[in-house]
């Protein structure tokens, strides 16, 4: 287990010395996973809200499908997005393959069902009576939804944190769509994979620790923002 202790010191070393390559990878990781989470949230929260608030046939089925997509393997998303944006694919002329943009697209798709599903769950935790009350007090449909979201803010925050966690920790999409290109699409998880396959276990663990530290800071930040 010495490796773990060494890895810990290595992580600290990389952080305090502001190792330029680690910094660069870390910033890119943050940029990609935060962007994906934000885009996914911008889609998922309204969609989840729509599904929660409307009554329609097949609602249960849609929820089941969304929940099924929690099981979407990153490799599968990677492959599907690859087929979509590769040179021959329908979106080939956007030239997104092996770019951060493509990674964002893939991670957004990965995170979308999770945030949607948990938005629905968060909203169903709020009693119908709150909706009635807000409408009654003159809220538009949209305002009442905002009110309900506000009542459900803890749970929604949980969904966001979960989505972010999924995005920042995944490696399948980043590898397949990003290609792990040094200086361009390399992120923490793909670096970890690479270093692991090179046999650099300690460095890999150190990078993992750095990733978790970042995630912790992001969570603390989110919590702080929503307490206000």
């Amino acid at each position: 287990m010495n490796e773990i202790i060494n890895a810990f010191f290595e992580a600290i070393h990389l952080l305090v010395t502001l190792d330029p390559e680690v910094m660069e990878i870390t910033l890119r990781t943050l940029y990609i996973s935060i962007t994906s989470t934000v885009i996914a949230a911008l889609i998922a929260v309204p969609v989840g809200g729509y599904i929660h608030f409307r009554r329609f046939r097949g609602k249960r089925t849609i929820i089941n499908i969304i929940q099924t997509l929690y099981s979407m393997p990153t490799v599968l998303i990677g492959l599907l997005v690859f087929l979509l944006i590769s040179n021959q694919g329908p979106l080939g002329n956007l030239h997104l393959l092996f770019t951060p943009g493509g990674m964002i697209m893939g991670q957004t798709l990965l995170v979308l069902p999770i945030i949607t599903g948990f938005t629905i769950l968060a909203l169903s935790g709020v009693k119908d009576e709150i909706r009635d009350l807000s409408l009654s007090l003159g809220a538009s449909e949209f305002q009442s939804i905002k009110t309900i979201m506000h009542e459900a803010k803890y749970a929604l925050l949980g969904a966001l944190i979960l989505g972010f966690g999924r995005a920042i920790s995944e490696v399948g999409v980043a590898m397949m769509i990003g290609g792990n290109i040094r200086g361009y699409t390399r992120v923490i998880t793909t670096t970890m994979s690479l270093e692991t396959s090179k046999g650099n276990v300690e460095l890999s663990i150190a990078l993992g620790i750095i990733l978790l530290i970042i995630a912790l800071l992001i969570n603390l930040g989110l919590n702080y923002v929503q307490e206000k």
Partner: protein, 355 residues
Amino acid sequence: MNLLEIQNLSKEYDGKKVLEDINLYLKKGSTLGLIGPTGCGKTTLLRIIDLIETPSSGKIIFNGLEIPKNKKDQMDIRRKMGMVYQKPIVFKGTVYDNICYGLKIRGENKEEYQDKIKDLLESLGLEGYETRDASTLSGGETQRMALARALITAPELLLLDEPTANLDPQSTEKIEKFLEQLRETGKTTVIIATHNLIQGQHLSDEIAILNKKIFQIGEPEEVFRKPKNRFVAEFVGVKNVKKGISSKVEDNLTVINTGNIKVYATSTLEGDVYLSIRPEEITLSRSEVRTSALNEFNGEIKEIRDSGGILDLKIDVGEVFSIYMTQKSFADMELTIGSNVWLQFKASAVNIFEV
């Protein structure tokens, strides 16, 4: 002009009718008391009027216009109403946040309302509660806060669902005073659902007795004095309701045989009927007296109940009658359970209605 009209409105839940053929016309500035026993549909009707619930059939006309289907237009109408729910629901946040909700939603500048909020809280006995976490309020405090929350936007139509159910008499009186003032300004039209008859009577220009259907609607006086049917009679607390068979004696005078006693009444109704006599119409004496009253019966005091200073006596003269009496007369006449007494009431005091 009618602010609100409801025509042939019905509501079903899972095939079970809870409101049936409701018709209501509500003048601008008037107050309607919606009175009925628990589960009679009061809350449901208010929710339908507030456009929160959709009726199964029927029409609602607000300010001369039928309620539009469009959500946005419905909201515009709803913004002219305010509703206080029976269940104490609060938004997360402070009392102040809760009260300002309607303002925020309407994009009003909260700052301009500081005085109004203060006044409202004060007149509802909640001064200084602004920063309290709303979820920690007591039952009655929540109810008063809910009232302030609905009133801050000065609604044209105010819907109140049991607004004083959780309040003590003092607070109730305060709220009633408050509502009476509101009524006097003539600006706010109010529907107040309550199971409290006295309250309904005090606060309303008209009352509707509801039990799935509207059984009677009219001025309180009229509904109380002349219940149209047994349900209303029993509900408005007309005591002494008896069933019997009425037969004509002369023009405008019938005798009703209850099976146990015969009661004279000024009425033309024949056949199966209900009769009622208001307790305060009955006089009581220790010995037989010859009066102009056509009805006189001898019996025995069975029960004595103290209802806040006034005594309620049950006297069995073949049928059991309730009569009211002050503590003082009771003492003066040296009555007690088992005392033999005589009851007298006029034929014209007897109220007759169809079965």
